[in-house]
């Protein structure tokens, strides 16, 4: 049952965007099929804008170099160009790397959950293509379990680490649910659009757009499903607006504290949240001094994001120790895939069950003499051993068939629950098709 596990890949740290673009896998299914034809036993490839990961289980006569050559050829590049931009892990190091990727410890923004969805999608495709089998199945299920454990036991993903997410989180802290709230975009900067999109996705009821060029506001309104409002009537519309994202290119403030004092009074002091992304700032900082008005500028939001990022780094230390522990546990399972440990485990399990049932029977029988006790014990052990005779002989025969042993040994271990493991229900992906998010 000799096999090697390789994980070869490139990511945002090892390669520049041009290399990542050139060696991204456009048709993952075909790529996997090609590797299977090359003779690998199992393969799963993940390709996102920030990383390409190729996980392979193969016989010892195939090396990571062969995989790299295939990859370079497939993308019309060369190993000489590709190799310096990649990393290669073997054996348990591959397992550890996969777990780190699943937990988002290897992502550009540590703790962002998108990568897990991408990993599940790639795994689903590999299963459908018949490219993922015993070892990759187990590795991926385990990686989902580890990711879940990390999310449950650490607060690695509990704080916003992007400007737009931070803005949405703050809005929720002020208004609670965002359903029914009204937002306004002043100006049409890209980051403001992104923040507005996040707000809309979080349930904001209506968005209006005010821009000095009315046609641009109308265009953006059509695009975002909002309505354009004349820039001149800004304050009138603010009376009905709860969340304002401002990003004009104006050289001075477009919203003054003096006018806002009147607006908030007209609103009967319903809270307002201003997100000022413009530089120079669009909103008079004194606005934050008004009751029930909250103003965050780009630096304030950056501070929130940076602080959250540093908290995430602390949590990543805890997450890494979980990954280490689970990698060792996976190593034990890999080792048990050799036939001998499985036979030993099977007989131990059989003996354990026999002893348990014997104890129950003896308790029910009450006082029995030593001879009867011995006879019952011998009978219980013999039944266990005889029942296992055929399954063990079957496993030995399958071991002699190249490429089949892992599967049957794994099946036997699962049938008899020799690893005493419970795979969480949601670790089994591939039942539902998910969106392919960006990593």
């Amino acid at each position: 049952m000799d096999h090697n596990i390789y994980l070869i890949g490139l990511n945002h740290r090892s390669a520049g965007v041009d290399v990542r673009e050139r060696y991204a896998l456009t048709n993952v299914e075909e790529f996997e099929a090609g590797l299977l034809e090359l003779g690998v036993r199992e393969v799963m490839a993940l390709s996102t804008c920030n990383r390409v990961e190729i996980l392979v289980v193969c016989s010892p006569d195939i090396t990571d170099r062969n995989i790299l050559e295939y990859w370079a050829k497939r993308c019309g590049g060369s190993v000489r160009e590709l190799e310096p931009n990649t990393y290669s892990h073997e054996g348990l190091n591959s397992v550890k790397h996969l777990f780190r990727v699943a937990c988002s410890l290897d992502s550009m923004i540590v703790g962002e959950p998108q990568i897990l969805g991408q990993l599940k999608e790639s795994y689903r495709k590999a299963v459908e293509a018949g490219a993922a089998r015993v070892i990759i199945n187990r590795m991926l299920h385990k990686s989902f379990f580890v990711a879940k454990r990390v999310r449950t036991e650490t607060s690695i993903a509990s704080s916003a680490v992007s400007i737009s997410y931070a803005a949405v989180e703050l809005a929720k802290k002020i208004f609670g649910e965002l359903q029914g709230q009204r937002a306004m975009l002043i100006g049409a900067g890209e980051m403001a659009e992104l923040a507005a999109t996040h707000l809309l996705n979080s349930g904001v009821e209506q968005i209006s757009i005010a821009n000095r060029t009315y046609s641009r506001a109308e265009e953006l309104g059509k695009c975002m499903g909002g309505k354009a409002v004349p820039f001149e009537n800004l304050y009138d519309h603010l009376v009905e607006t709860d969340i304002i994202i401002s990003s004009t290119g104006a050289p001075h403030a477009v919203i003054s504290a003096k006018e806002m004092r009147k607006v908030i009074k007209k609103r009967k002091y319903r809270p307002m949240f201003f997100i000022d992304i413009a530089v120079p700032r669009d909103i008079d900082p004194d606005v934050n001094g008004l009751d029930n008005v909250y103003l965050y500028d780009i630096d304030d939001l950056k501070d929130v994001v940076e602080e959250n990022k540093s908290q995430r780094e602390d949590e990543a230390i805890k997450a890494n120790s979980i990954v280490e522990f689970e990698t060792l546990s996976f190593g034990n399972w890999i080792n048990s895939l050799d036939l001998q440990p499985t036979i030993v485990d099977l007989f131990n399990r059989s003996e354990h069950v026999a002893q348990q049932e014997l104890a129950k029977t003896l308790k029910r029988l009450g006082d029995v003499d030593a001879k009867t006790h011995k006879a019952l014990e011998t009978m219980a052990m013999s039944i266990g051993k005889k029942l296992l005779h055929e399954p063990v002989a079957f496993l030995k025969r399958r071991t002699e068939e190249e490429g089949k042993a892992d599967e049957f040994v794994d099946l036997a271990r699962r049938m008899f629950n020799l690893d005493n493991e419970t795979i969480p229900a949601d670790a089994h992906c591939g039942r539902k098709k998910k969106n392919n998010f960006e990593d």
């Binding site: 509990s158 704080s159 703050l170 929720k172 802290k173 002020i174 208004f175 609670g176 009967k268 002091y269 319903r270 809270p271 934050n288 009751d291 029930n292 909250y294 965050y296 304030d300 501070d303 929130v304 602080e307 959250n308 908290q311």
Partner: protein, 275 residues
């Protein structure tokens, strides 16, 4: 130990367990502890209700003149109001106010077995329900509004000063939720308080032949009523929200507590607790 005493120890244990679960659950953002806290509070409240019913049924003649009954009933009202808020908001946050108060008041009620309350016999049965019932529920509502007010001021300050929200601050309900709790407590609490006060004055007229007798408790209660009326008016008519009503309700609640502990115990009054 009588069944009655056993009941009381179990109620204390359940309220204590609830308080601990709510506090640790909020600090550690642990929802399971919040659920356990709720279970303990429900158990404690059920037994507490039974305890009060037994007290009224078994000791009908003496229960209304014992300090035990009043403190116990006030504690019970806190949990009752908390359940109302929980039903509306599905948030255990407000148990942080209700639960320790209920526990404290129940323990005090046990320590107040020897306290005697002067109750004019005249129309006592009718007015006890109306006067005490409405005043106690409105005090419990005031407490919830004050708790929500403190939380509002804390969170408002954090957001205004751009401080990062960590630990409990992160798990707190929104500013809007706290403001809504303030709003509901005031619009329900003030009419109830007014009704309780009116019932009290009518009772005084029947019992003492005059509605107002410059009793210190009556004076402070009127001060509270005026302040409460002011917040009520500003909220409903002027649209006040957020910081101002939060601060005012905290003041109203603090004066009410001073009145309860200071006047009832230490100053000669119709409402005096005597050992």
């Amino acid at each position: 130990m009588t069944l009655f005493e056993l009941f009381q120890y179990v109620i204390i244990a359940l309220y204590l367990a609830g308080t601990v679960c709510f506090f640790i659950g909020s600090l550690k953002s642990n929802k399971i502890l919040g659920k356990l806290g709720n279970l303990s509070a429900v158990g404690g409240f059920a037994l507490h209700t039974l305890d009060l019913l037994l007290a009224v049924t078994l000791y009908k003649e003496t229960v209304l003149s014992g300090g035990y009954f009043y403190f116990s009933l006030l504690g019970w009202s806190f949990i009752l109001v908390y359940f109302g808020l929980w039903w509306k908001l599905r948030s255990t946050f407000f148990a942080l106010t209700a639960s320790p108060f209920a526990l404290l008041l129940f323990i005090i009620s046990l320590a107040s077995q020897s306290l005697k309350v002067t109750i004019p016999a005249h129309l006592a049965g009718l007015f006890i329900g109306l006067h005490i019932g409405t005043i106690f529920v409105s005090i419990a509502l005031m407490a919830m509004a004050a708790g929500a007010g403190v939380a509002f001021l804390y969170l408002n300050n954090k957001i205004k000063t751009k401080a990062n929200l960590t630990g409990m601050g992160k798990e707190m309900p929104s500013l809007n939720t706290f403001d809504n709790v303030n709003h509901w407590s005031i619009i329900i609490g003030f009419p109830l308080y007014t009704l309780g006060l009116a019932a009290g004055f009518l009772w005084a007229r029947a019992a003492f032949s005059k509605m107002f007798s410059w009793d210190p408790k009556e004076i402070v209660t009127l001060v509270v009523w005026f302040l409460f009326a002011f917040v009520f008016h500003q909220r409903i008519m002027m649209g006040w929200r957020g910081k101002k009503p939060a601060i005012l309700v905290i003041i109203v609640f603090v004066i009410t507590m001073i009145s309860l502990w200071g006047i009832n115990f230490f100053i000669p009054t119709h409402h005096s607790f005597k050992v």
